[in-house]
Structures are given as C-alpha cells and as structure tokens.
C-alpha cells in the first residue's frame, strides 16, 4: 500500500513555472561556458591504499610482491606514464570493475603468463547447437558418471544466434535434490547438492580420467594427467569475499597451445556452492593467426574491447597483467582465444562503492577487458561475443558518439 502512496504523490510532482523560468535562464547563461577541467577524484586516496608500479612486467603492490618467475609474471608492458586526464565525475560512476584487495587475486595461474610472445596462431573450435535429444543423451551420461539419478527434467530452446541464450538448456533435478544445468554441450552446472565436497571430488576424477580408456587406467605405464589450481577472488560491496576455485588439467611437458586448451576446456570451477564442469568443444574450424599482445592493448586503449568491466578512459588505464585464454562464457558462436587484460584507474574511489559500514581502505578496483586474439582480418569468419546484463558487452567509440 505504501508504495502506491509513494508513487501517487511524489510521482505527480512537477517543476513549478518559476523554477523552470529560473533554470532556463541559468542554462542559457551557461551556454558557451565550458566546464573547467577537473583532476581525478581519488588519486590521493588511492595512492594511500596502493603503492603501484608496473615495472618490467611485474605488478608490485604494497602488500604482495609477485615472484617474477612465478605465474604472476605478465608480458612486459610499456612503463605507464599517465597524463592527468580530464575526468567528468558524472561518468565515473558508470565505470564498472571488480573489487579486490590485491590485483594478483584476478591473475590466476594461466599458463601463458610471461609466454604470450610464443604464440602466433591457435585453433578455433565450434560451439555446436545441439538438439534436445543430443542434450538428453549427454546429460544422462554425465549424471551417470556423477552417480546422480535424474528425477525430472526441463528443456528450454535457445533464443537465437545473436543472443546470450544462443544454445538450449537442459535442466534436471536429481533424487537427492542436486540440480544439473547443461548449457549447449559445453558446460554442466551442478548446484544445491547435499554434499558439494563429494561431488567436487567425483567431478575432479571425471576430469582426470574421462579421456582414458579402462585399459589405460589399469595400465601401470599410463600416468594420469596432472592437475593445477587457481583461485580468482573478488569482493561484494559488503566486503564479502567471493572466491572461484578452479581446477584444470596441466601437462608441464605439453606445448603451450595444449596447455591453453586444457586450461580453458578441461576445467572445473567452484563458486558460491555451485560447481561448473566445462566440456571439451566441438571440432576445430581452422587455425588462425593471432594479433600481438601489443595490438590487443592498442585495441583496448582505442575503445574496442569487451566485458562487464567498463571505463570511459581506456587510454589512461594502468595495465596490470595480460594473459590469453579461450573464452568459455555463454553465447559464443565459436570458442576462440581472447586476450584478458587486467587494468585499473587511479581515480576509482572505493568509498563510493562499498556499502555503509564497510571500511573501503583495503579495497581497490580492477577491470577485466577482453580483446579477441584472432587477427582482426579473420574476425568476420569467427565472430566473437561476450554478454553482460542481458546485452552485448562490446565497448566501442559509438557509445560516445
């Protein structure tokens, strides 16, 4: 009832004629008066939180010194000399990023760290749209592997090539309450399990042994694949940690191309009591030349990048880390390599973002921008997509046109 009162009264308020007249006069007087430049809002505050240096490809923060030989080593970015930008405070609040206490929390354990220059071409894979029957066969197989008994299912068709719901979804409820959601034929989400730890162990075994024949599994000369882990951690506005713990196959003797494949497609992630198992993609549609990391950075800086993170000033961003992976987010027409660029802006002010009562001082913003790694000449052949808030998350100059 009170929301109706609220709507009917405040919703009916309109400007008085006297206010309109005064405001119109003030606006007409302001014409031609350009707003004075303004320095970034929070440089001093952010500097107090961070001592940041991007030197020789290593990100150093006040808290963590990343081992230059370890996984935190990025390609060597150019030293950042950031001119003081003119920032309109009205725009800043539209910029979006992840909240962390240290940038290394989003670096992960990507095998391309420090090795990007080794890659010149990579395969692109199909992401086929399956029929309902194909999905049912696959889900039954996966449920059997997981030891789940399906009680009921619900199938939803895809919503079209150009949408984030491109592929159909088959959901199932198991007799123990576990919920399964098969998206296309590339990911299986498992949630509401009464024993997530046990399911995690089962899925891990599936990940390791799925490609081995029974004979290979029994043979003493066959060594099971090794796994590696990474934890990606960000924070809610409440200051609550939201870690994603990923396990993926890693053969240290394999080529970098094979390692990236396993990192992306032979992978499981646990986040918020939900587990996602990524399945291997369809056939390769070809091997394509890659653009260089510097070219990808140029693309980002000149307003051609993707992702839920967004900044109006990519040209001023401080680059933290660049890696390469296959994009396995929903709605991909093809699974293709992307550069993943971590960046920050010195004017991002955590005090504006965190909930009341949360000390903002430990936190900082880190954006994640994605740039397709396939040489732009070939991107019409293998179009790239990434979605956020039900829409395409492609940031291009037309946004400011």
């Amino acid at each position: 009832m009170n929301s109706k009162d609220y709507r009917s009264t405040l919703g009916g308020v309109t400007p008085s004629p006297a206010w309109r007249e005064r405001t119109l006069a003030a606006m007409e007087q302001a014409q031609g008066q350009k707003r004075p430049s303004r320095k970034p809002l929070a440089i001093a505050a952010t500097a107090a939180v961070l001592a940041v240096a991007v030197t020789g490809g290593v990100w150093l923060s006040g808290r963590t010194e990343v081992d230059p030989d370890g996984p935190g080593t990025a390609r060597t970015p150019e030293p950042v000399v950031t001119p003081t930008p003119t920032i309109d405070p009205e725009w800043i609040y539209f910029e979006t990023f992840s909240i962390v206490t240290d940038p290394s929390q989003l670096m992960g354990n990507n095998p391309t760290a420090g090795r990007l220059e080794e890659l010149t071409e990579l395969p692109v894979y199909e992401n086929p749209i399956p029929t309902e029957d194909q999905q049912r066969v696959l889900l039954n197989h996966l449920a059997e592997e997981l030891g789940c008994t399906i009680a009921e299912t619900d199938w939803s068709p895809g919503t079209g090539e150009e949408t984030m719901g491109r592929e159909p979804i088959l959901e199932a409820e198991c007799t123990d309450g576990t919920q399964l959601r098969l998206r296309g034929v590339y990911s299986l989400q498992i949630y509401d399990s009464p024993d997530l730890a046990a399911v995690t162990e089962t899925v891990r075994s599936y990940l390791i042994y799925n490609d081995m024949t029974p004979e290979e599994m029994l043979s003493s000369s066959n060594i099971p694949p090794q796994t590696s882990q990474e934890t990606l951690e960000d924070y809610a506005y409440t200051g609550e940690s939201m870690p994603t713990q990923a396990t993926f196959l890693l053969d240290p003797d394999a080529t970098l191309e094979e390692q990236i494949y396993s990192y992306s497609f032979q992978r499981m992630e646990v986040r918020n009591n939900s587990l996602t198992l990524y399945l291997q993609p369809g056939a390769s549609v070809g091997t394509y030349p890659l653009r260089s990391p510097d070219d990808a950075l140029d693309s980002f800086r000149s307003w051609d990048y993707w992702g839920s993170s967004f900044t109006y000033h990519p040209e001023d961003a401080q680059i933290i880390f660049v890696s390469l992976e296959y994009d396995i987010s929903m709605g991909q027409p093809y699974f293709q390599p992307v550069y993943r660029i971590l960046f920050t802006q010195d004017y991002w002010d955590m005090a504006d973002r965190m909930f009341d009562g949360v000390d903002p001082s430990p936190f900082m913003g880190v954006g994640v921008a994605y740039v397709p790694a396939i040489d732009p000449k070939y991107q019409d052949e293998v179009p790239y997509r990434r979605y956020f808030n039900d829409g395409l998350a492609h940031h291009i100059p037309e946004e400011l046109a």
């Binding site: 009832m1 009170n2 929301s3 009162d5 609220y6 709507r7 009264t9 405040l10 919703g11 009916g12 308020v13 309109t14 400007p15 008085s16 206010w19 309109r20 005064r22 405001t23 119109l24 003030a26 606006m27 007409e28 302001a30 014409q31 008066q33 350009k34 707003r35 309109d88 405070p89 009205e90 725009w91 609040y93 539209f94 910029e95 979006t96 506005y237 839920s308 967004f310 909930f355 009341d356 956020f388 808030n389 039900d390 037309e398 946004e399 400011l400 046109a401």
Partner: protein
C-alpha cells in the same frame, strides 16, 4: 549544446523532456523542495557546460540520473549548505509531498538503496534498466531493492508492498 543521436537539444527541449525526472529526483535526494530545486538547476547548468554527446535516450537519462545523485550527495555535505540552509528550516519553508511518512522513509535510506527504490517505484524502471542507468550488475540492483524493502518495513512498521 548537448546532442542526442547527433541532433542538438535546445534548453527548452531538455527541460520539457527531462525536467520532471531531475526535479523529482533532486527533491527525493535532498529532502526538501527548496534544496531539490537548487540541485536540479545545477544539474541542468552542468549539462550545458559539459556539452556531452549522447548516443541514445538511455545514455542521456543515465547521465542526468548519475549527475543528480552525485549532486544530492555532495549537497548534503557541503559546508556552505550546512552553514546556511538547515534542512529542517528548508522543509518548513517548502514542505515535501505528503505521503504518510513513506517519502521521508525513502529519503532516509542510504543513497545506494534510495536510488533503486526511487527509480523503480517512481520512474518505473525495471531492475535491468536500473542496472544500466547506475552502471552496476542487475543482481546488485535486485539485492539493493530487497534490502531497501526490508529497511522500509522496519522504518514504517508495515510491509512495503
């Protein structure tokens, strides 16, 4: 002058189209009609001075909403404002709309809850649209609306429905 889809907007057009939105929002954000009028005027003057180019109407509205929210925030902590315009006096001089306490309860919410409530209940935006306007994930808007309703229930001693 600001442009929308490449077309220049006149001051009259801007006020006719977006005056009520900014005016209401400023009153909600400052807690008084007098302060709200000042804030709303500042927002429109700032729009002229910034001279931005907007790709579409959503973009323009998002700018105005963000600008109004920012100015309401800084208005409340402005030393000049605190020294010269006591909130209660301003309210007495120009009382806010009578809504049986709901308006005051919404005004008392922290901004991060107040604006989703305002944009949803007064301006009729969906959670996805508010997410776009405020530049945050839709789930954040939904959780803030949910928490705001709980706070309003406590404040008003009845369900916010």
């Amino acid at each position: 002058m600001p442009t929308l889809n490449g077309n220049s907007l006149s001051c009259e057009e801007i006020l006719d189209r977006y005056g009520p939105l900014v005016y209401r929002m400023a009153i909600q954000g400052t807690g008084s009609v007098a302060d709200g009028e000042d804030v709303a005027q500042e927002v429109f003057v700032s729009l002229i001075q910034c001279d931005p180019r907007f790709a579409d109407e959503t973009h323009l509205k998002a700018w105005l909403i963000r600008a109004t929210a920012n100015r309401c925030k800084s208005w409340g902590r402005s030393p000049w404002h605190r020294r010269t315009v006591p909130l209660e006096e301003a309210r007495q001089a120009a009382p806010p709309p009578e809504t049986g306490g709901t308006w005051e309860a919404v005004a008392a919410l922290p901004p991060k809850y107040r604006w989703p409530v305002y944009l949803h209940y007064i301006e009729g935006y969906t959670a996805a649209e508010i997410a776009q306007l405020l530049g945050c994930p839709r789930n954040t808007v939904l959780s803030r609306l949910s928490r705001a309703r709980a706070k309003l229930k406590d404040a008003l001693k009845e369900e916010w429905a």
